[in-house]
């Protein structure tokens, strides 16, 4: 009897969902013939249907879907897997806004390298893993998840949403940057002006610097991608121009290196003074690096740990390449975190609504508002006032290019490991 009730509840809920979808206004195509639209069955079909819905329609569909699922199994929850704790805050705000989802959204913190085997296993077995996934390893995403068709994209539309080309398939959620930061109280804001200073060699007018602190790419995948991108055509172009400006002469290719990027990598790696084990701790410790003005390569987003201190110093005591100082060559590295839906998701409409909320102004503010170093893929969402817009960072930094990383990985990582292993 109980089961029959559950089944009836599910059927009724689904009827409501599709009824609402069919009655939808604005964005939906009105039914102008007698043939009923095909009922979306797969997650991909539901995402396609959701992309045509208004927010109200999507909410109704998500609500009905969740209620039906809970009626069928009271333990049902919406699992949001992500590396960034911003999603935890988004989930909390989402539950406040959509009260019918209260206590049903569960945030699961998933570190990239530890989460990839989970996604791999779920993809191979075509099994449920989560309803929402936010990951950042571009190569893993492209070659293991997208090519296999396991993770799907939903792109919201409407007045509040605007995306740059190339950021919707797959759907970018938030973009991050890692830049060179230092305590400027004694060494000044202009300590670093040209990226070639980081090789330690003196230039025509500037001195080489021997105080860079970087997390080893052997333990930090993002840094490995950054190092590989230093050998890319874009980096070669930037480095060649910066070389001329720094040394006052044209770059002459060294046959020992494949290109100027490889040469820069070799000299930069040799000159790194300190290989820190945690960006977070190192940014916290910038407070104590006034004397040597240690140049810390870390996520600008880590400034929240620096700024979290209630005592001195203030934000003015910090300089960041590309932020409040111009550096020739490149200021750092820009990379994405994607918001995706597994094709085995149990609550795809809720997933779409969740992503829509995360990318909205309200959702972005809830997750990452008031913090440096977080840039929404929805260009209508502005970063914190004192930060630069994403467009600016894209111009001053190397940008992660998954196709280049894929094609150059074999040779570049061997070269990088050779430098690190000396």
């Amino acid at each position: 009897m109980k089961n029959i009730k559950k089944v009836l509840a599910v059927v009724l809920a689904l009827v409501m969902v599709f009824g609402l979808a069919a009655c939808g206004g604005g964005n939906t195509t009105p039914a102008n013939n007698n043939t009923a639209p095909a009922e979306p069955k797969t997650v991909a079909e539901k995402i396609a249907a959701a992309e045509k819905m208004s927010e109200a329609e999507l909410e109704a569909a998500a609500k009905a879907e969740l209620e039906a699922a809970v009626a069928a199994d009271a333990k049902t929850v919406f699992n949001a897997d992500s590396l960034t704790s911003g999603v935890k805050k988004v989930a909390e705000a989402f539950m406040k806004k959509y009260t019918w989802a209260a206590d049903k959204i569960v945030y699961n913190s998933r570190k990239g390298s530890e989460y990839q085997p989970v996604l791999d296993a779920a993809a191979k077995a075509d099994q449920y893993v989560a309803d929402f996934v936010m990951i950042q390893d571009a190569a893993f995403l492209k070659f293991n998840m997208l090519d296999a068709g396991f993770l799907l994209s939903y792109t919201p539309s409407g007045d509040g949403f605007k995306f740059n080309p190339g950021t919707t398939d797959p759907q970018v959620g938030v973009t991050f940057n890692k830049v060179f930061l230092w305590n400027n109280t004694k060494v000044g804001k202009d300590q670093l002006q040209n990226v070639w200073q980081l090789t330690g060699a003196d230039g025509a007018t500037l001195k080489g610097l021997k105080n860079a602190s970087v997390q080893s790419p052997l333990g930090e995948d993002i840094n490995m991608n950054f190092f590989i991108m230093m050998t890319s055509p874009d980096a070669v172009d930037r480095l060649t121009k910066a070389y001329k400006s720094y040394f006052g002469k044209d770059y002459v290719a060294d046959p020992a290196y494949k290109n100027i990027g490889y040469q820069f990598l070799a000299e930069f790696t040799k000159n790194v003074a300190y290989w820190h084990s945690s960006d977070t701790s190192e940014v916290k410790n910038i407070v104590g690096y006034a004397d040597d003005g240690r140049i810390v390569f870390a996520g600008l987003a880590k400034l929240k740990d620096y700024l979290g201190l209630e005592t001195k110093p203030s934000i003015e005591d910090l300089t960041g390449a590309g932020w409040n100082a111009d550096v020739e060559g490149f200021s750092g590295f820009v990379y994405n975190m994607w918001t995706l839906i597994p094709k085995t998701a149990k609550l795809p409409y809720t997933s779409c609504l969740f992503i829509r909320y995360l990318l909205s102004e309200e959702g972005f503010k809830a997750g990452w508002g008031g913090q440096y170093g977080y840039y929404s893929a929805n260009v209508n969402n502005k970063p914190i006032d004192n930060d630069k817009p994403l467009d600016s960072w894209v111009k001053t930094c190397l940008v992660e290019d998954v196709d280049y990383i894929g094609s150059a990985y074999s040779e570049a990582q061997k070269f990088i490991k050779q430098q690190l292993g000396q």
Binding site: S85, E92, K270, Q413, L420
Partner: protein
């Protein structure tokens, strides 16, 4: 024909009438399924293309799942940018050397302290014995962190450490970062392990053997060389095996203590760091598996050595059931001096890291007492935008208390299973010394220790997504199974060592009196070697309490266990809370150890002779 069948039936019946045979066969089957599966997966992974990323890396049109020898060739022989040399051969050689140094430090330090505690009239035994095991309860990186905090100095641009701030002394960079500090940190971390294993044997050793040598006017050194050392040899080799395997595959210590610039010549990239880098990248997973297999081969060599010692009956029966009054060596005038030196050293390496955890959890800025705050312990208000109040003071966090409760429960269950399995395997191996099957069971039982935790977890993760095993996915039962198998080697080693010491006469006497096997185990064998067996339960418990890598792929959410909450806080910059949890885990382990001591009268340190 019928007679032949009857005769073989009788033989089988007779074979299975002996408990040791039943145990051997059952564990052979269990271990074959539980241990060989991950081994085969690793081996296959090293000879196949693991995903599209790797196919792209290998090139030549290979596809996911294709068989290839590329990973082996690339890692062992590639000369492009000195790849094989830089990524494999040099790190392997250096790491093996580091692990040997760590073994030497652990065995010497742990062994010497064990000898003083069990065989001398040293004062403050209880204090030394209790405190000496602390470093083993802590995660290994805690010792590395303490090492850096103590020795770092401004001359090497690493900030002021404790030594410099107190004495003004700046040690050279090679004492702070690189090869030697890694060996020291690991050696000191595993010294309690040597202390537990060697001390357990020394304590239970029949003093008559040494006394007989003394009567025969053998010198003290000769007694040590000819009597004591041969007796503790099985435990010594077990210690070397466990410490070597752990040290060579330790990731956190070499990663944490490798901060020197490359130009300083002090940079040390261990094979474990290379392995993690290879496995974490989708492009080079197969190469990571190759490294894991090679590391296992290293340990197998030591394992073979160990088997030769125990398998050919070169071990010595030292627990005979007869009087074993221990006469303590009188240290004379050196007594006080040795005691003071030991107390200072032991307190320094065991208590100072705990103090450092406590201070780190109480200061907003590391080492700056003007930023003192109790909020990471007591705050009821969330101090970071949080969901469900999990970033409030840890003592008020329901999520943490629940996670800690689950950790304790899981560790108790794992310890019970692993400890009992180990004890039974030890019994079977001791009873069937020389038997090939028993030898195989003993060796296979050790293999989980040699498989990197993450890889071990990954195999069971894949299994939990397989048809027929899906009910295990995300369950605590899966954590229990994986934990029980992974930590069984501790128990099987201690169980085997302890059983090997027992004279067969003890059980034989009971057999003649028709005492059933269960009663013989629980009333005779277990009580005699209680301290060693309890160690076999406590070691998996401690290891499970502080384990993270093994479970991280299998847990349903980060709030599942105390260590995963700790990792989450550490990752999100809440280092004070992470340090507080670390301290809490250590305190919980100590409390449970105390309870075990009160209930059973045995504990790790008491087992060695602390009381």
């Amino acid at each position: 024909m019928e007679t032949k069948t009857k005769s073989s039936g009788n033989r089988i019946k007779a074979y299975f009438s002996k408990p040791a045979n039943v145990i051997t066969v059952i564990f052979f089957i269990i271990l074959l399924a539980a241990v060989v599966l991950p081994l085969i997966t690793l081996l296959l992974g090293s000879f196949s293309i693991n995903g599209s990323q790797e196919a792209m890396y290998v090139g030549g049109g290979v596809k996911n799942g294709d068989i290839t020898a590329h990973h082996w060739w690339e890692l062992l022989f590639s000369k492009e940018y000195d790849y094989a040399k830089t990524v494999f051969w040099r790190p392997l050689g250096q790491s093996a050397l580091m692990a040997l140094y760590a073994c030497a430090i652990a065995v010497l330090f742990g062994g010497i302290v064990a000898w003083f505690i069990t065989r001398s009239d040293l004062p403050f035994k209880k204090f030394i014995s209790t405190v000496f095991v602390f470093p083993y309860i802590m995660p290994s990186w805690a010792m590395a962190m303490f090492w850096e905090n103590f020795f770092k100095n401004t001359q090497i641009n690493a900030g002021m450490g404790i030594l410099q701030s107190v004495t003004g002394i700046c040690v050279p960079e090679s004492m702070v970062y690189g090869f030697a500090p890694c060996a020291w940190a690991l050696g000191l971390h595993y010294a309690p392990f040597a202390y537990i294993l060697i001390g357990g044997i020394l304590r239970n050793m029949d003093a008559n053997l040494e006394e007989a040598a003394t009567v025969l006017k053998a010198s003290r050194f000769k007694i040590l060389r000819k009597v004591t050392l041969p007796i503790v040899l099985p435990a010594l080799i077990s210690t070397v095996l466990l410490v070597f395997s752990s040290s060579i595959s330790s990731f956190t210590v070499p990663f944490f203590l490798n901060k020197s610039s490359i130009s300083s010549g002090n940079s040390f990239v261990s094979i474990s760091v290379q392995m993690r880098s290879l496995v974490n990248s989708g492009f080079t997973k197969g190469q990571g598996y190759v490294v894991a297999i090679v590391l296992m081969i290293f340990s197998i060599i030591i394992l073979t050595l160990n088997s030769r010692v125990t398998g050919k009956r070169k071990s010595f029966t030292t627990v005979t059931g007869k009087s074993g009054q221990v006469s303590l060596v009188k240290l004379g005038k050196a007594r006080a001096v040795i005691a003071i030196i030991l107390v200072v050293i032991v307190a320094f390496f065991a208590i100072m890291p705990l103090v450092s955890f406590a201070t780190e959890s109480l200061c907003e800025v590391s080492g700056d007492w003007s930023t003192f705050s109790l909020k990471y312990w007591l705050s009821a208000e969330p101090f970071e935008g949080s969901a469900k109040g999990d970033t409030i003071g840890i003592l008020r966090s329901t999520i943490l208390w629940k996670a800690l409760g689950r950790s304790v429960l899981l560790s108790i269950c794992v310890a019970f299973a692993a400890g009992t399995f180990g004890l039974l395997i030890g019994y079977a191996v001791a009873k069937k010394r020389g038997s090939k099957l028993a030898g195989m069971v003993s060796n296979i039982a050790f293999f989980p220790y040699l498989i990197p935790s993450m890889s071990f977890g990954a195999v069971y993760l894949a299994l939990s997504y397989t048809e027929g095993f899906k009910w295990l996915n995300g369950s605590y039962l899966l954590l229990f199974i994986v934990g029980a198998i992974k930590f069984m080697p501790f128990a099987s080693r201690t169980g085997t060592s302890a059983m090997m010491q027992l004279s067969g006469e003890i059980e034989e006497a009971a057999v003649m009196m028709d005492v059933p096997w269960g009663k013989r185990m629980t009333r005779i064998l277990f009580p005699i070697q209680k301290s060693s067996f309890i160690s076999g339960y406590l070691l998996p418990f401690i290891s499970c309490m502080r384990e993270m890598s093994l479970f991280v792929l299998l847990i349903p959410t980060y709030t599942a266990l105390a260590t995963t909450v700790l990792q989450e806080y550490s990752r999100t910059g809440l280092t004070q809370s992470a340090n507080a949890i670390n301290l809490l885990i250590i305190v919980v382990v100590l409390v449970i150890q105390f309870i075990v001591n009160k209930l059973t009268g045995a504990s790790i340190d008491k087992g060695v002779g602390g009381n």
